[in-house]
Amino acid sequence: MSWLASLIPMDHYGHYISWHFIQVSVANLVIIVLMVVTFIAALLLPFPGRARRRGNK
């Protein structure tokens, strides 16, 4: 499992992105992007059995 740990070095300072007064760590930005992607996917992806349920309504 050591190769997995070596992917993300934990003994260095974190990476940050700065833009004007906004400063965000890359880790937090990745989480925010993943949440947005999940939100959009939840709206667009078809839910299993949705058509059948709508038909039974």
């Binding site: 989480i31 993943l34 949440m35 999940t38 939100f39 939840a42 709206l43 949705r50 349920r53």
Partner: protein, 212 residues
């Protein structure tokens, strides 16, 4: 004609509760067709993650506030605790976005919305008290940063993030009780009022109310 039994507070309370929330509404067999969408799964995902958070937190509390630093099992349970919290907040944020864009306070659901908002705030404070209770350098760093912010509000006189005992008690007793009670109220309100429908399925009377 009302009898002596009808006037008892237990009878009145039972009638009121079963009137507002009959068993078939509390534990329904089916949901409306519009609930068959991925955007509706994040509330229950948050609930499931909360269950894991509480379960792993109970295991961590068995042997005191530091043992997990020196034990393989401790590391594992601590990691489960951390990652279930990550999923909890992740799912709760997506749930919040979904409900915000659905205007989920429609149709007399204001209390459902507000209990969700307060639960979110209580969860953030629970997360903060957890971070400052880790008993490591990370918690020292976070608490010394947080104390400046909290002192600037005047709250530091009552809520001292440098006091491990106080933070741990808040984290494992007071705030979880608050979060669980609020979540229970939130879920009960969802059961009483029903899951908010999408705009196209909203009854005309509610649409008119929103337009005002």
């Amino acid at each position: 004609m009302s009898t002596e039994i009808d006037r008892q507070w237990t009878t009145r309370l039972r009638k009121r509760l079963t009137g507002k929330l009959p068993p078939e509404k509390l534990l329904p067999d089916t949901q409306p067709a519009y609930v068959a969408s991925w955007i509706y799964v994040f509330g229950v995902t948050t609930l499931a993650a909360m269950g894991v958070v509480i379960g792993t937190g109970c295991i961590l509390s068995l042997r005191g506030p530091q043992w997990w630093h020196e034990s393989g099992v401790g590391h594992f349970v601590n990691s489960l605790h951390l990652w279930s919290v990550e999923i909890f907040f992740f799912a709760m944020i997506v749930h919040l976005w979904g409900k915000y864009f659905m205007a989920a306070w429609r149709g007399g659901r204001a209390l459902t919305w507000m209990t969700g908002v307060v639960t979110f705030v209580v969860s953030i404070v629970t997360g903060l008290t957890g971070y400052v209770s880790q008993t490591n350098f990370d918690s020292q760093w976070i608490s010394t940063q947080a104390k400046d912010g909290i002192n600037a509000t005047g709250g530091g006189a009552f809520f001292n993030v440098l006091n491990l005992g106080q933070m741990l008690m808040w984290h494992i007793v007071l705030l979880p009780i608050g979060a669980v009670l609020l979540t229970a109220l939130h879920v009960l309100m969802v059961r009483v009022k029903g899951v908010v429908p999408p705009f196209e399925d909203t009854p005309k009377t509610v649409k008119a109310e929103v337009a005002q």
